[in-house]
Symmetry: D2
Subunit: 344 residues, 4 copies
């Protein structure tokens, strides 16, 4: 049994950590911080947690208290983990950061996309990008994990077999992605109101989105050539879910694409390659840590279409964070992540 | 470990049984029947079950195979359990019927509401109405359980403390109920299409609904006087959830209503009385077996308003069925029903 | 052709006035005010208005400019019309107030519910409550109209035939109402986010809601006895629409209720009594000024159930405001309000 | 004033014709046919039409009665217009076919995609493809119009300026399209239930969709080279709306793309080029005949991204059909199509 803390627990990734960890037999949540809600019990804010966390209350962030934990999750806006991670690591506490703070290896690029200096460049070398399907061995011994973003998870897992096999042109990739509204967080914004966002579909960030450099870096790690990626995210009228539709151009006769995907992911506990011809639905992973993938080659032509779905709050955030924790502490990789998706 | 079968597994209560039982450490689903889908693997129909039931397939109903089970759930239209329950019971198999077949103690009344003769009146005396908050001790030794309907569960749990205490007039009850569309089942009906049922609200069955006699019978069991109930169900544009808004007229000075409810349900694992002044949301029980209740007395007047929410597929069907099974087989009442609701 | 202004045009009732008035052949919108958005073109904020109002921009409120209009609509929070209406009326400009400022005839009661002194009690005597089905003749000559609230419109139109005919007990009324989320306005509140409000149902204000005294006053005007009303509003996961389910107790043998309703509303252009046995859907009035009503008497008992649906932004606000304007200026009552509801 | 008939009026495009034509001052709907609903009044099936079509009832299809009309709309499954169009044309009745029957110029290709022989190849030469932005002059004198499909309309209008100007490679086009569920029609299919299709996103037809050859033909008409198009449609949890996200590769320095689009559509009444940097929302055209378009060139690279939104039932079907009728009969092109979109 280990003790963990959560920094910034009032957002959707924070409450999702609590929901999932309530089912984890080896983890006890001992602290959860929020400046704005200090003193409030988590079950008063999230009634679904009544009966599961009847005494846990939000507290002011306190590095000493957090430093007594075995691990601390950051479910915070960018910049917060920069400020605290170093001290926690020095105390021997492992850090699992769900924010963007340690995802980009290049501090300058981070600064350009986030419009502020990088707050902890000295930790970048040790940070491990927490995509188990790419970096499982490093994760096992890591002290500091950068949990991948939601879009980057769906996109990277979809392209991985094709790029590793060198079958498609990495300079001509198009990722058309659709996300539920929890991807925009729990902030009170007019554009996220039900009255504004339901019964409608729109793209956003077509000119450039902060997940673009992260995805580019990840795809670059899969093969040696420069990556050219067009990434257009869309806001979809649903609570959870990401659907990535991934286009790429074949550079060689690919053989059996279905077999390629099945073999690549044969031993991956949380990637499910659907039968040939499938169209995965986001609801098939609602509340669940699986990424379901299907691969198509329309009209046997030069374009490969990969369909990749995840729950943005689970495999795209809190579930993947727990998968990382399981690897770091030697637990079964499935622990706390067993429940089937809620469908219907 | 016990072996169970499910008759009629293609509907929403069937797949919900599979979803929940996937997490039950003492139950193994050995058979699931469907005439129309015989031979199809359940995970091909419900991709959320991939990785949980990779070999289980629908089979033709077969009384002999089912009779080898410790328990059989009926997730069928009315009439089916009438035909099969007797033979199963004779084989020593316990029967948990999610349909309406054994809910009404009066076979004639059943016939009037369901427009057909009752198929197994000889079993009515032994059937136990599976509302643990009313009949826990009988359930423990029952062989045949009639799982309450979804509306009846929400309505009865909301009125129970008031009627048992004799505080309200049982002849003037009004239950205004709102249900998500899974309450209408998985049948392909135009009125249940997203294009028809979303962005809209409507009542139905204002002139009389099949759940009315069941509710009336249950409320009658709580106190000695005749029950007069107006019950109006409404179709709500959401997948899951029932919200019952229950009106009653005080016949005496009630004292502390909040305390009354809290005390009545103090030891109930799946009824949560919310703090005074609360308005429970259906999403706080999405995927979960809890009934959350709040009690209000507007302007300190003579009308009491009880707000009672459940997930129609869980506490209103499959979850309650498993709660009954746990009681019947001596398992912890929570077993397989531990996960917090999915929120957001 | 008359010229009108709109004060406070950034909210949902403001944009709905613009949408409807774009089709009105006798009205030209010459000014629309908003402190926060002054200088912004309305079609930049509301792209559905592109091509309809290509030059109209929000301006600072200016009593002189507004005083040059034939009529001014207030689509503002409470208190604003108090401050400006008197000056406009003195200039000969007619005022149609969509806020609550002039709905209650009793200034003290207004102060209690809105927690501030009434800002224009001297205008109360002249203000006309703009429910045409009750006050058509007075509206025609009014200078100051208090447009009814959304819930009050649905509830009053539903009870009107019963109370006028003296058939039900006015001291035992129960109005269970369900509203889409635009009823909560365009403010950026967490509870109104799609991620919070969709896939869920909840009551609110069960202990007392500001529309209660307005409804009570209106029902009191229909018959001579004291009104006892329990009013419970619910938030429903849809954009527009109110469904009022209205319960009352018969005090006499009612005769033909269907005929009673049909006769009372035979000449009302915007009240549609549905055929006996109907259950009106809110979507049948989406974007439209009609109130559709059905009346039921379950099991031929003592309880009458009236189902009354409106679009909260149209008959519940901006459409009814235009209906009032049509009456005040001698236009055809339908003018600008002809389009059928958007369905599906 | 002209008289029109509608063949197959029970589906969504049929009722949408009725909704829009209720506002058309020069059109009277004299007949609407449906075998399954013959005798039923349209306002009994679609209560939003109460007060607009109080006597019109569905009738059995009757070529003689239809032949007395000035124009007949076909809102039917494919194959029906093949059988009837010839006879109507011979009677001097103009035919506006919303189905796919006359969209493809090549009867053999039609047969391949629709798995049946083409029923009226002799009419293909005279049929005019009813996309006014491409074929306005031909439409004005046409007797037989093939109204474009919903996806084809959104995709063609988005690519048109780029292809006409020869700026992009027509052999490498990718159209990622998202549609509301009315695109699947009013048939009672399990996959279209609210309980199945809401809170989820999925692609379909990734291997080939019937709109593909129609789009290919249209794009081919815009420029001289062979078209290579990958088209992936997605089902989106909303009632109405298509969002097409269109990718293409520049073959030359394009100059000012924004100006190119604005100039191409400067005189088009139903194409709205949004300001540079915009992301059009489908709700901005809900119920409205406009196509709103934005053009992006991410990072000033070689990929152009066009965002194109329509209401699938209006510009994607019934509204465009009426736009064609207006052109054919010399009415103002806007007639009956003036109302702003319903937003929120």
């Amino acid at each position: 049994m280990i003790n963990v803390g959560i920094v910034g627990g009032t957002g959707y990734t924070g409450v999702e950590l609590l929901r999932l960890l309530a089912q984890h037999p080896q983890v006890s949540v001992k602290a959860i911080t929020s400046r704005s809600e200090a003193g409030v019990k988590v079950c008063d804010m999230y009634p679904n947690l009544r009966g599961h966390y009847d005494t846990l209350a939000f507290s002011e962030p306190d590095a000493k208290a957090l430093g007594a934990m075995d691990a601390v999750f950051f479910a915070t806006p960018h910049g917060v983990a920069h400020a605290l991670a170093g001290e926690l690591l020095a105390n021997g506490t492992r850090v699992i950061d769900l924010s963007a703070d340690f995802r980009l290896r290049d501090a300058d690029e981070w600064s350009r996309w986030y419009d502020q200096p990088h707050g902890a460049p000295e930790l970048l070398e040790e940070a491990v990008y927490g995509l188990p399907e790419m970096h499982r061995e490093k994760i096992k011994t890591a002290r500091l994990i950068a949990v991948p973003g939601c879009y980057p998870t769906a996109v990277q897992l979809g392209y991985l077999p094709l790029l590793e096999a060198g079958l498609v042109d990495p300079s001509q990739l198009i990722a058309d992605c659709k996300s539920g509204v929890t991807g925009a967080g729990r902030g009170a914004k007019v554009a996220s109101l039900l009255a504004e966002a339901s019964e409608s579909m729109k793209a956003y960030g077509a000119g450039g989105h902060r997940h673009l450099p992260e995805i580019r870096q990840g795809l670059g790690d899969m093969q040696p050539n420069p990556v050219g990626l067009t990434f257009v995210p869309h806001l979809t009228p649903m609570i959870r879910g990401i659907h990535a539709t991934l286009y790429s151009t074949l550079t060689a006769e690919p053989g059996d694409l279905q077999a390629l995907f099945e073999q690549r992911y044969a031993n991956e506990p949380f990637v499910d390659v659907m039968p040939a011809g499938s169209h995965p639905e986001t609801r098939s992973v609602k509340g669940n840590n699986t990424c379901r993938i299907a691969v198509h080659r329309p009209s046997n032509g030069n374009t490969v279409v990969v369909l990749s779905v995840i729950d943005n709050l689970v495999k795209g955030a809190s579930g993947q964070a727990i998968q990382n924790l399981n690897l770091m502490f030697g637990f079964d990789e499935h622990m706390g992540l067993n429940a089937p998706a809620l469908m219907p």
